[in-house]
Amino acid sequence: MTDHEQVTPILEMRQISKVYGNGVYANQQVSLSVNRGEIHALVGENGAGKSTLMKILFGMEKPDQGEIVLEGKTVTFRSPQDAIARGIGMVHQHFKLVDSLSVTENVTMGYEPVKRGFIDRKTAKEKVSKIAELFELQDELDTATGKLPVGIKQKVEIIKALYRGAQILILDEPTAVLTPQETEELFDQLMKLKSRGYTVIFISHKLREVKQISNRISIMRQGKMIDTVDTDGITEQEISSRMVGTNYSKNLAKKAAEPKEVLLQVKNLTAVGMNKKEVVNNVSFSVRAGEITGIAGVEGNGQNELIQMITGLRKIDRGSVCIMGRDTGKLSIQELRELGMSYIPSDRMEDGLAVSMSIGENLISTKLKDRRLYRHHLLSKKKIRDMANQLVRDYRIKCDSQETPVSMLSGGNMQKVVVAREFTQQARLIIAEQPTRGIDVGAAKFIHEELIRLRDENCAVLLVTADLEELYQLSDNILVMYDGRFSAYFPNPDQVSETELGNYMLGVKIQSETEIGRGCHEEEKPAI
């Protein structure tokens, strides 16, 4: 290898900034430099801004500031077609293939050779075949892509990008859908592509893979580029602590938990996702009254599906969920709520609120059975207003009046509306999913204090969060989720460092079954 000839960057993204409509910086002055012929990993937690940066590079999003320099020339991409024309190809996480069309038809889509008005299948096949040889796929060219396994479909996507003349290949979390064997195969092929002079940008948060495949690593956190380093000069632990960030302060008053009876009992819960993969795999734990149990984990390791099953949003494939001792399998969501469950969903705009409706209407939406809202068997506007105004005052929701549509509020105040609704229905079990994501510090602190107050009033709280600071501040015990299972249970969060936690989050370390089993809080049965 002549490493010294490869130092000219083929691609530079300079000072890229992108602000989304709700005022959140997805990218803030991000710079990225990629060398010709390298495999360049882009790592960061979900929401760190990796995908946005790559969408900008592929012409799917326009940057608010900054420029892209490709082979020394400044370029502007108005659409993916522009990017494709300049030799950039992208393999999306969700494949863009037409299942009933053959591999050849999918690869050549939009760029078919034509002879006398008909598609020239022979030429098309020959052209595709040349590229497919690299992937040992030349025998599958006539197969309908719908019949192919996921790993092969991904290869088809790569071939499609190469057929369009890609020199720089962006792979968006390519291993997320692959089995370990398929991953190995993909890596072999990426090495082959690299040796042929292709440049690969590899988005991932699986550090082991990144370490294995890449030459250099760029680390992003909260919309900013933290660093670009040589892969050889950094350990997985170091990447992880830079990805997650470490500085936080414990400034929240909280007394020791006094856990009592079990309010949520999850036993052997399993969710089967697409491709028949177990996204939640035989998971058991419990949450007791008077404690906050935190679930940590890199997003996409099954936390979503777990919460969906507990809250009744997703069918339980195997196992059981008991709330207040009742099996929830056959209960409707309304019945779950009547049992005392309340839920703060991670997506407040989509699942938490009806944003076009008023604050008042949102606040009463779960309380329509409450007699206090009625007068002569009809909803009373005055009574609704009184209740809403009370909640707006109690939860310090900043707004003109309770008639303001929720969509006019800031993220923090929207979340307060959700919280005000959920915390005022005699809840005993609170499921809080990313309760303070993307909201200002003041609102976050308020919500944290409320959660602790409810804990002290004997509620059970299950907290799912990607924010380690929040996790440490609130949790009385921590479960770590990795690849659909728990990889650790810590009865005492103070005694585990965030580096250690990171190791379990990324599956570098996994506790024994008995250690994790402590999360069920069952008394040891005496052996007979």
Binding site: P80, H92, K96, L97, N106, G110, E112, V114, F118, I119
Partner: protein
């Protein structure tokens, strides 16, 4: 019952199935091409009706039957162009727009007819031409089979030819491939740099042209005049036929023939003193029963 069977197993009856299937077959192919592009063309009924009047008017004024057919095709394209403009450009709901255009077509045809002839029901005052029937050499001499297959309208043969042409078009041409791809996963087509709306527009225009041929058959071959609302639901029956044929040209043709048979049956049953009000119900009753059976089977399959 024996009498009914006697009628069904005659060459005449089979001949009439082919004749009566022709307009349904045109409409089914029109439904098929747009459905494969992911647009359900509810407007076929109105398109056919409008085209059948324009065919009559065109042939009457030019004195040439083929110019009449051309008129029907062009007006079919124009009519579905209007539907495309609303649905693709203004992004209106396809079903609502289709229904509105169907109702408009029903009124508009009567209005035009009245302006031209002073009559609100039939176009007998217009000296329109008929598309000729042709006898196929060799085949016409085969006993029984000859009398079934030969002696149909040129448009009937065109309809069956169209089934093959469409199958090849969808499989072997660029546009055909894009149409299939758009119907299945429009995202993949968009990322390949092809305009999904453009593909859908072309599919709808082709659909309109084929509906135009169906309209021409109604007023220039099936009968030799235009009558009020003469398409009589065939444009809707076609949607059922296309669905039961699962969008495959060959299978859709078979279900079109099935509905043609229902039509033929309803004509013949009148010979047995059955009230015509009842027999005329046949094709529509067949449609709903057939759709029910089809849907139930599909449901069972998807559960298995």
């Amino acid at each position: 019952m024996g009498q009914i069977l006697e009628i069904i197993f005659t060459a005449d009856f089979l001949h009439s199935i082919i004749r009566l299937s022709t307009p349904i077959l045109f409409a089914t192919m029109a439904a098929l091409i747009s459905e494969r592009a992911g647009v359900i063309n509810i407007g076929i009924e109105g398109t056919m009706l409008f085209a059948s009047l324009m065919g009559v008017v065109g042939s009457a004024f030019t004195g040439n039957v083929w110019l009449g057919v051309l008129c029907a095709v062009v007006s079919g394209i124009a009519f579905s162009g209007l539907l495309s403009f609303f649905h693709l450009k203004l992004e209106t709901d396809i079903v609502l727009t289709g229904i509105a255009l169907n109702l408009m077509s029903s009124g508009l045809t009567i209005f035009i007819l009245y302006i031209l002839t002073g009559d609100k029901g039939v176009s007998t005052q217009l000296a329109s031409k008929a598309v000729p029937n042709i006898n196929i050499p060799l085949i016409q001499d085969i006993p029984v089979l000859g009398s079934i297959l030969s002696g149909h309208s040129v448009l009937t043969y065109l309809a069956f030819f169209l089934v093959i042409a469409l199958a090849i078009f969808l499989k072997k041409t660029k546009l055909g491939t894009y149409i299939r791809a758009v119907g299945e996963n429009s995202d993949s087509v968009e990322t390949a740099g092809i305009s999904v709306n453009m593909v859908r527009l072309k599919a709808l225009l082709i659909s309109g042209a084929i509906s135009g041929l169906g309209g021409a058959f109604m007023s220039m071959a099936y009968v030799n005049m235009f009558t009020k609302d003469m398409v009589a639901g065939r444009g809707f029956i076609a949607l059922a036929a296309e669905a039961m044929g699962r969008g495959v040209p060959g299978l859709s043709m078979l279900s079109a023939l099935f509905f043609g048979m229902a039509d033929a049956l309803s004509n013949n049953l009148q010979l047995f003193n059955m009230p015509s009000e009842l027999t005329r119900l046949m094709p529509y009753a067949f449609t709903i029963v057939a759709l029910g059976i089809y849907a139930a089977r599909e449901q069972r399959k998807s559960k298995a």
